[in-house]
């Protein structure tokens, strides 16, 4: 398991290559990359600042990954989340899940993102032409996380 919170950008190819460690038991890798958009709630976004709670963030992400490993038959999972100043087009978050087969890898990857969205202590503040504003949490994110509370088939 690996969890990193960092200001620097990440290289997807290098991260995946390092994470799979030439393990021939891995038959599937599912990944998700979250990006900064230039519009949100109908307003142009010039950039954003990502704040987090050092210590709790790493603990929460490690807990989410551990939960995914308990629910699905996967080999491992990697989460990298950036903080600080970000601009449209920038990468924000990377989730990589390795497994023997794709089904568990896809499901665990989606689960990790849904839980990260609702449980990991990150907050976005956007810069718009009307000034800076804190991004409001979305009910759709709670609904996305809530669907995993049903028992899942492995």
């Amino acid at each position: 398991m690996a969890v990193r919170v960092q200001q620097e950008d990440f290289d997807i190819g290098a991260e995946i290559a390092a994470f799979r460690r030439a393990d021939p038991g891995i038959g599937a890798i599912a990944s998700f990359i979250g990006l900064v958009r230039d519009v949100n709630d109908g307003q142009a976004v010039a950039g954003m600042t990502l704040e987090h709670y050092p210590g709790m963030t790493e603990k929460a992400l490690a807990g989410i990954v551990a939960e995914a490993k308990g629910r699905w038959d996967i080999v491992d999972a990697l989460v990298i989340h950036r903080v600080g100043e970000l601009k449209p087009l920038d990468q924000i978050v990377l989730v990589v899940v390795t497994g023997a087969h794709r089904g568990a890898a896809f499901a665990a990857c989606e689960f990790i993102m849904d839980y990260l969205k609702t449980q990991a202590p990150f907050w976005k503040k956007e810069q718009t032409a009307q000034g800076a504003r804190w991004v409001e949490a979305r009910a759709s994110d709670d609904q996305a996380a809530g669907r995993w509370s049903e028992p899942q088939a492995k």
Binding site: G34, L50, E51, H52, Y53, G55, M56, K59, A60, H81, I92, V93, M113, L116, K117, T118, Q119, A120, P121, F122, W123, K124, K125, W134, V135, E136, A137
Partner: protein, 85 residues
């Protein structure tokens, strides 16, 4: 007893501070009663933490509920619903 309190994001701005030490009477309480005592101070505390505000709480870096116990030396954080990812 002494509790270490942290504020993040909009709550940090509304409170005007990133954290504080808070003295509570007694040896134990819970999240709900701690929040009520902070709100009772009035001013920025009442505005930022009052009922009707969407506030999430953690105790020792785990997400907490209203009835989660709080004891001396704990680290309690108040923050808005999270928006990462």
């Amino acid at each position: 007893m002494s509790i270490r309190i942290l504020y993040f994001a909009r709550l940090r701005e509304d409170m005007g501070i990133a954290g504080e030490m808070f003295e509570l009477p007694g040896e134990t309480c819970n999240v709900n009663s701690l929040r009520a005592q902070l709100v009772a101070r009035g001013g920025a505390s009442a505005t930022a933490l009052g009922s009707g505000k969407a506030v999430r709480v953690s105790v020792n870096q785990d997400l907490a509920r209203d009835d989660t116990p709080v004891k001396a030396g704990d680290e309690v954080a108040f923050f808005p619903p999270v928006t990462g990812g």
